[in-house]
Symmetry: C2
Subunit: 332 residues, 2 copies
């Protein structure tokens, strides 16, 4: 295993130590070693924003703690949900008395642990509501959206919810904005290599040389087809063919485009892919209001790419445009 | 080859197209398709900052175009110098009449092409001076620093030179600041896998499983030893043992630490490495004034890491601390 680690069982502890040392201007540790908080949290008079999830997706989740974004994040083991206690402590860290919005991805462990954390928070008199991201189109039919996984679209959900909270929204308003954000967002992933969890020491699935897995999940969940590696342009067409009819997006729409590498993809290639996405959208009369291209939501050392599109309206546009300052996303 | 490309011969053109589409708020194309400029360049009354180099190092070099940083960058083929004409056009794009500082890395092709570009610029009456980065410690003995390669330390050179220019420094003052920045900076790289140039289709060197190459260059130039992969903590010790005596750095120093992945390294592991770096520096009484941990200067899909340290003084500290806004580095 060609990796930069010490004891594979302690990678999460050790990355957190390094992360806090490196980014003390934005994040602070809490009494729970698996919870990091914004250094100004809880922000007085503001609804708190909490997220969390398994590790291995850097800069998600801790990298989105920051100004006008997430107030506290619960950190799980690699590809595993944080504990209920960690979600609870994150809620406590984010709460300034205005309530807390827990905005997270649709995975069984997270759903269970957030539900338990909410019970404990309710006992403390903290108002907590949730939005569960389900933007990964290939993971279930559109008629069963509630079964879909949350992937990189979560970032846009945090962006919208975080902005609404920063602008003084009530808990109900923050939840409504975050829910609209994810309802208007669709994603798809393409995997070109597996990834290796350090404590396992070998890939937990395989992608043969010359093949790609279309519709792959953020933890290597199986996609909808395995096929010969296509050109970047063809991958872009396939990705849009999957996403556009699902919402549907249509000519005249204003969208945000988020292209993320899955960890090992050269960033140059993300731009080659984005170039075609923008062309195809332009051909259809869909306008790109804002784009993000980079390693925004990864899967350890997986080679591959994800495409996320969000349809904007007059409520979402200023929320997406509000300045943010976090490790993973800085926008003026 | 598991990659997201179209024709391997056009990866640079296509990434540039995508890059300009994605980042039109910061960069603009110029009449030379291999030169990108800051959208406010040339900035009136300010010394221009130019850099350039081969492609494959994203976000270097175009990603450091931006506010208080680089005004124009010349873009070469993968791992190859930009042409003399491209450096010349970048100088023209950056020049507002106050002269231009070309701050680049020590490679034969770049040296030759910058020299030719300077002759053309001189014919136009543009004052141009250069600083050549040579921060890669293992690439030559300290007695022959002029032979050393420039690597990730270039970012800190651009940061210092760009800030000095933004603060109204003359060309001589900008050159002096950039020269001091690189004189105070040392780097070392560790490679855990080779990288593959798309047009070649296979790695141009090899690192056996279980081995690491200590002192590797940004294009896979041979390091000083090939040995069994060490723990992250041991890698950190080796890296500091190489860098610290070379300047030398000593207790009481104030430093900037830059840890960069080489492209395919999970970002989590950069933090595990940084954690130990910070501990070891702290043990020696060396204070980390500011740290950067992420994929700041990469080598396509190479797995590996680089460590860069810069010793600060009262002139460099405010230059490093000045706000910047570019694709690769945003700092408030």
């Amino acid at each position: 295993m060609q990796r930069i680690i010490n004891n594979p069982d302690f990678v999460v502890e050790e990355y957190l130590e390094g992360f806090v040392k490196a980014h003390g201007d934005i994040v602070v540790p809490t009494s729970n070693p698996r919870v990091l908080a914004y250094r100004e949290a809880p922000v007085k008079g503001k609804v708190g924003i909490v997220t969390g999830g398994g590790s291995g997706h850097k800069p998600a989740f801790t990298g989105y703690i920051g100004k006008n974004l997430v107030d506290a994040a619960a950190v799980g083991e690699i590809f595993s949900s944080p504990t209920a206690k960690s979600f609870y402590h994150a809620i406590k860290a984010a709460d300034s008395g205005q309530g807390v919005a827990v905005l997270y991805g649709n995975y069984a462990g997270d759903n269970m642990n957030v539900a338990m954390a909410m019970e404990d928070a309710a006992d403390d008199g903290i108002a907590v509501r949730t939005v569960v991201a389900n933007d990964d189109v290939p993971s279930a039919p559109v008629s069963q959206r509630e079964k879909r996984r949350g992937v990189a679209g979560e970032i846009l959900m945090w962006k919208a919810g975080g902005a609404k909270a920063a602008l003084g929204g009530t808990l109900d308003e923050v939840i409504a904005a975050a829910q609209k954000a994810i309802d208007n967002t669709r994603s798809v992933g393409i995997g070109l290599s597996p990834c290796t969890i350090p404590a396992v020491g070998k890939p937990n699935f395989s992608i043969e040389p010359g093949k790609m897995e279309f519709g792959i999940g953020h933890h290597g969940e199986p996609g909808i087809s395995v096929q010969d590696i296509a050109s970047a342009d063809r991958m872009a067409e396939m990705a849009l063919d999957t996403i556009l009819p699902d919402l549907p997006f249509a000519g005249g729409d204003d969208v945000v485009v988020l292209v993320s590498g899955l960890g090992a993809t050269p960033v140059m290639e993300l731009y080659i892919f984005y170039r075609k996405i923008e062309q195809l959208l332009s051909d259809k009369g869909i306008r790109v209001h804002r784009s993000y291209v980079g390693n925004y939501f990864t899967s350890l050392d997986m080679m591959g790419i994800t495409l996320t599109l969000m349809k904007l309206d007059d409520e979402l546009r200023p929320l997406i445009d509000l300045e943010v300052y976090s490790v993973g996303l800085k926008q003026r």
